[in-house]
């Protein structure tokens, strides 16, 4: 376990690379889905007579 965490001495570079990838891509997915749901809800409200 601690061997995996150490990343052969490169932990300070490998883990942040994973971290920033998850953060940026995950954040993009969340923002994209939120905008999509909002747009759908707004249009549905407008189309209701």
């Amino acid at each position: 376990m601690s061997q995996v965490l150490a990343m052969g001495g490169y932990a300070a570079f490998v883990w942040p690379a994973y971290g920033v990838s998850v953060l940026l891509l995950g954040g993009t997915v969340v923002v994209t889905m939120r905008a999509y749901r909002n747009a759908r809800a707004r249009l549905a409200a407008l189309e209701k007579p």
């Binding site: 690379a17 990838s21 994209t32 407008l46």
Partner: protein, 237 residues
Amino acid sequence: MFAFANPKRFMDASSAVLPWLVAATVLALGAGVVLGFLAPPDYQQGDTVKIMFLHVPAAWTAMMAYGLLAATSLVSLVWRHPLSDVAAKAAAPLGAVFTLLGLITGSLWGRPMWGAYWVWDARLTSFLLLLFIYLGYIALWNAIEDETRAARAAAILALLGAVNLPVIEFSVDWWNTLHQGESIFRAGGPRISGVFLWPLALSGVGYTLLFFTLWTIRIRTEILERRARSLLLGGAE
């Protein structure tokens, strides 16, 4: 071909394709990330080779996204096609995210392997320029209120910026760069071992599919927003 490109048809077609696209993205990205994580340390680079599976697909996708942005911009300028405006506009923020990701992960790989987070070599500099072109494109869209005029101006900027794509691609051949040369798509086949090539290929497919999934959803969002806006305008009359 353009018959399929009207907003109504796009909404129908994309809602049928989207579940499959999401499933394929999850599979490819999941497999790529897991296999990349389990790949053995490189004999020279050690465990920093894992950064390759995050850096290279992000950079590929960033460039592909710009290619699509430029292509849809060209269609929008030549044929005045409304869906192509929407498609180009929707691609830009995604491309910017992948570009930023390529820069950050590259920097985290550069420090242990080159001894520097950043050097002003031709590959890195042209890739940083790609980020600025994306940001300029987004800013231009936001600066012009009239949608048709904004689309036109942004499309022209997108085509001017496309000059940078071959510069990025061939920077490693044209100039002496610290960044390594092409080692995957080269005559004579890839120059990396199979244990790294497979996870890299899967990650590449996964990142590409993730882009297409998000792009499709963003185009749908924009179409829905425009529909809502025109309903509001119609109601105000």
